[in-house]
């Protein structure tokens, strides 16, 4: 599996994502500069965290206009896995690939800590290696992670099992319905505020995030195998 990690000016979790895939997963991975226009040849697309373009306007609001974004949207339409973490999630929201918006954390302060996440849906290609309702330890680090959507959207997310992760126990940022991560209707675009790439090495406290990447890899192997045999 060949993975692209998109690098915007101000991305700062790009290297963490790169190493989670290279060292944690042991798969091929490249940085792809925001000004590139094609993602052909990549099997999975990662939009890492950070402060793209400084996020002085609104998180992700500028990045969605970057040269690479049409290629990200195309990859999403082609059914390739697209994972947006933290700022990457915010960019996916701004780009319209996922519904809703981010508000400032309820206490108006940046929060960095490892939280308990509940796996609400383990049937996505990102979560097959987790148990349903399993509680995993994954770090968060954000100032604007208070997910908001209107009632109709929430209903739609709930009814279609599109809420993949929720905060278990204390909700750290005030997000609606404790939402920490959601997926698109096709099931190949996941946005999440917590950082699975920061939980890919037990030395740093948790490797619960590694299974997310392994799930993507398994799904890719199965689907390419299916493609060869069909």
């Amino acid at each position: 599996m060949k993975t692209a990690v998109i690098v915007f000016p101000g991305s700062n979790c790009d290297q963490d994502m790169y190493y989670a895939i290279k060292d944690g997963l042991g798969e091929e991975v490249d940085y792809v500069w925001h000004a590139e226009t094609s993602l052909d040849g990549y099997d999975a697309i990662m939009i890492p965290g950070g402060f793209s373009y400084g996020d002085y306007l609104r998180s992700g609001a500028i990045a969605r206009f970057a040269g690479i974004m049409p290629a990200v949207i195309k990859a999403a339409e082609q059914g390739k896995p697209v994972l947006g973490v933290c700022n990457g999630f915010q960019i996916l929201l701004e780009a319209g690939l996922l519904p809703g918006a981010m508000l400032k954390n309820k206490h108006l302060k940046f929060i960095c800590e490892t939280v308990n996440l509940k796996v609400e849906n383990n049937e996505t290609q990102f979560t097959t290696l987790y148990d349903k309702d399993e509680v995993i330890r994954i770090p968060i680090a954000h100032g604007e992670g208070n997910y908001f959507c209107d009632d109709a959207t929430l209903k739609e997310l709930e009814e279609n099992n599109r809420i993949v992760f929720t905060y278990s126990g204390e909700n750290p940022n005030g997000s609606r319905a404790d939402i920490a991560g959601i997926i698109n209707p096709a099931g190949n675009v996941l946005g999440m505020m917590p950082h699975p790439e920061r939980a890919a090495d037990a030395l740093l406290g948790s490797d619960d995030g590694l299974r997310l990447f392994q799930s993507i890899l398994n799904h890719w192997r199965e689907s390419t195998h299916a493609a060869y045999t069909s």
């Binding site: 700062n12 373009y53 400084g54 960095c112 800590e113 680090a141 890919a200 740093l204």
Partner: protein, 740 residues
């Protein structure tokens, strides 16, 4: 039209003593005249006034700084460049420095703190290193004061705002509260970087004919005269100097880091330096002076974000996120391309010339023409020193002994003191995990950051107990270094070197100068003994308000090498049944202790005594025990004494302990005798550990319990972990949420 025609003439400057308002003394002005052989014009007077300020020149502290040992086996770069460099083996090196941003933070706390972080990061990457960690040593006044709470909250936000955005983890530091910092907080930021030996850069303008380029953000009018402002006491008038505080843009700096690290791999790069304090003038004159050359610069080419800027304004601006580089002539276009990729300016603004002068051209005329080394050679001031009467009185005072009726209550109260309480309210606002190398997060004795691709780690800490220094600057100076080293050792690291941030009051007060002199002597002695040379640092004087000077606060930033990440050690107890040992006997030493402050509200008597030889041998033994795998936990006994060390070791765990002592409870629990450790040892390692550290005293066991039982011959102290932990964990957030 720039308003240069409104500037006073050289004659007027002399006649009206304009130089005085710019910060130059009478003698200094005469010296400038002598160096130039003529009267300086307005721009030149400005150049000298900032470059000869204490902040840039260290003119007062220079004679004292000579005490420090600055070289050692592993030191690749000592003081004098952007940051110091120490070898860590395998062709790699660690780069680090600490710097103050006290004065700006007292006036505009968010930007003051943010730009302090930005400045120290530039110092580190200008050496060619990738910044991998930040630490912040903070001091504030009494949190009952609403202005203090405002300063505290905004400083923390400023540090978070900059560090989080740029993506360098803030992994440690310290935070203390005391009345003496009421109007004058201390904001000291430290940055640590990692690099390969072959990438080491210097801030030198070598090679006649080479091109001087300006890279990064444009120049505005922000921060003009900041260095001079930092060399004065803070007063009511300081608010008028808000424009001397710069504004930070961490996004710009993130781009600058990446572009400059690309640049340092390019063979055309000759020298690189941050435009920090005193901006263009300091970077240009220092790069020229260090290389024994001159620089001719055309100010019309300087990227400007405001119109009609005068040469004075351009040269003295402290706009952030700018660097000056010298490159081989002819490679301008390649260098521009590197910066253009990151959306940054790279503009050729001058050239290296043989004549050793800094020559500035503006609109076709030469507006300044001064010998390059003259700006870097402020006349050294030898200040008078006087032993304070308070010191003599404290030395002569009878030994202070506490009377304690309720040990449980006392311990709980201590844990709720802002200085001793959990710092989570602060650290959770910092992204301490980005870069995914943080092995030991904030809250332990020292933070540990992995060196990616190796088995190694870097342990890092900042330390200074100013209360000891207030009583005895020499002994307290020694302790600051020793405590930092103890924290490194307790984390499994071998102390390598230090950087220091010398925060004091006005050196013009002979009693303050005595404090400076004695503190540095004490620190230097400890650095010699512990083999931790000083590789970089910063001096911040004039930390006083109309209420007086701060306590002497020379902050020590130390980095140690963890040879193998398997050696990483932390304070919390790990297993039920582990044996608890105390290394080092407690003496009735309470001068400057947390207990004394709790009871008396002030400190008195003698500071604890430090035996450097004992300190050194114990550190070596504890580190040995860690490396041999004998220990399950290690924690140094510092502020608050053993009671606090024990409490901190059970917080966040499911453990309690049963301990027995035959000593005096007050002394055992609260004395701040130095060179002591609390360690736990699994039963299996008992005899090996005891033969290695024969003076360790077995005092009890770790239990799986909410209770801490501490038995003395005369009484038993019984504590409930959740109750203590609530007090400790909630204290700061409770104060900050209740009073806002």
């Amino acid at each position: 039209m720039p308003l240069t025609h409104l500037e006073p003439s050289p004659e007027q400057i002399e006649q009206d003593k304009v130089y005085r308002t710019m910060g130059l003394t009478e003698e200094e002005y005469q010296k400038v005249k002598e160096l130039l052989g003529r009267k300086p014009n307005y721009t030149e007077t400005g150049l000298f006034s900032v470059m000869w300020s204490e902040h840039c020149s260290y003119k007062t502290s220079k004679p004292v700084l000579k005490y420090f040992p600055t070289s050692g086996e592993h030191v690749l770069q000592g003081p004098g460049e952007g940051a110091g460099i120490v070898d860590i083996g395998d062709g790699q090196a660690v780069v680090f420095k600490i710097e103050s941003h006290n004065h700006p933070s007292a006036i505009e706390p968010y930007q003051g703190a943010a730009t302090g972080v930005g400045g120290i990061i530039r110092d580190v990457f200008s050496m060619g290193a990738r910044p991998v960690a930040l630490l912040d040593s903070l001091r504030f006044g009494d949190l009952d004061n609403s202005r203090v709470r405002y300063l505290f909250e905004e400083v923390v936000s400023g540090i978070a705002g900059y560090g989080n955005c740029i993506g360098i983890p803030t992994v440690g530091g310290e935070l203390q509260f005391d009345n003496c910092y009421n109007g004058n907080p201390l904001v000291n930021a430290m940055c640590v970087g990692i690099m390969n030996h072959e990438d080491i850069q210097v801030g030198q303008a070598r090679g006649i004919g080479n091109t001087v380029m300006y890279v990064g953000a444009s120049t505005g009018r922000d921060g003009i005269n900041g260095a001079t402002f930092a060399s004065e006491e803070i007063s009511e008038k300081s608010d008028e100097k808000r424009s001397a505080v710069q504004v930070g843009d961490p996004f710009m700096e993130k781009l600058l880091v990446e572009a400059c690290l690309e640049l340092t791999k390019h063979e055309a790069l000759v020298g690189i330096q941050d435009m920090g304090a005193a901006g263009l003038v300091s970077s240009a004159s220092e790069m020229a002076a260090k290389a024994g050359v001159g620089i001719h610069m055309n100010l019309d080419l300087i990227p400007q974000r405001e119109t009609e800027m005068t040469p004075y304004e351009m040269m003295l601006s402290e706009s952030q996120e700018r660097m000056l580089i010298v490159i081989k002539k002819g490679s301008e276009e390649e260098i521009k391309a590197i910066f253009a990729r990151w959306g940054l300016h790279a503009v050729a603004v001058g050239e290296v010339i043989e004549e050793e002068v800094l020559r500035l051209e503006h609109k076709g005329t030469i507006v300044a023409d001064v010998p390059s080394d003259s700006l870097a050679s402020a006349p050294v001031r030898h200040m008078p020193s006087k032993v304070p009467a308070s010191y003599l009185a404290n030395q002569a005072a009878p030994n202070w002994l506490p009377e304690i009726n309720n040990y449980e209550k006392t311990i709980k109260k201590l844990l709720g003191q802002p200085t001793l309480a959990s710092k989570e309210w602060v650290t959770r606002q910092y992204d301490y995990m980005v870069q995914t190398n943080t092995v030991v997060a904030p809250g332990s004795d020292a933070a540990v950051v992995r060196v990616r691709g190796t088995k190694k780690g870097l342990a890092m800490t900042t330390d200074c107990n100013a209360k000891y220094l207030a009583l005895d600057p020499n002994e307290g100076g020694k302790i600051a270094v020793a405590e930092a080293a103890r924290n490194i050792v307790c984390s499994g690291g071998l102390p390598l070197a230090i950087t220091d941030c010398l925060n004091f009051g006005s050196p013009e007060n002979p009693e303050v100068f005595w404090q400076i002199d004695e503190s540095v002597k004490g620190m230097a002695k400890a650095c010699e003994e512990l083999k931790t040379p000083v590789i970089s640092g910063n001096v911040s004087l004039y930390n006083e308000t109309d209420r007086g000077a701060i306590d002497p606060t020379p902050v020590v930033g130390m980095v140690g090498l963890v040879e193998d990440l398997d050696h990483v050690m932390t304070a919390p107890f790990k297993n039920e049944g582990d044996l608890v040992y105390v290394i080092g006997k407690a003496n009735p030493e309470f001068g400057g202790s947390a207990l004394q402050i709790l009871i008396d509200g002030e400190v008195s008597g003698k500071a604890p005594v430090l035996d450097l030889e004992l300190e050194k041998s114990r550190q070596a033994k504890v580190l040995e025990a860690i490396k041999l795998g004998y220990l399950a936990s290690a924690h140094d006994v510092s502020e608050g004494g053993l009671a606090i060390a024990v409490a901190e070791s059970v917080f966040g765990t499911e453990f309690g302990c049963d301990l027995q002592f035959d000593s005096d409870p007050a002394v055992e629990l609260f004395s701040e005798t130095q060179s002591r450790y609390l360690v736990t040892v699994p039963e299996a390692s008992k005899s090996a550990f005891e033969s290695l550290i024969d003076d360790a005293v077995l005092v009890g066991k770790v239990t799986r319990s909410e209770t801490l039982n501490i038995d003395f011959a005369s009484s038993t102290v019984t504590l409930n972990r959740p109750e203590l932990e609530n007090e400790w964990r909630g204290a700061l957030s409770c104060i900050m949420s209740a009073k806002n």
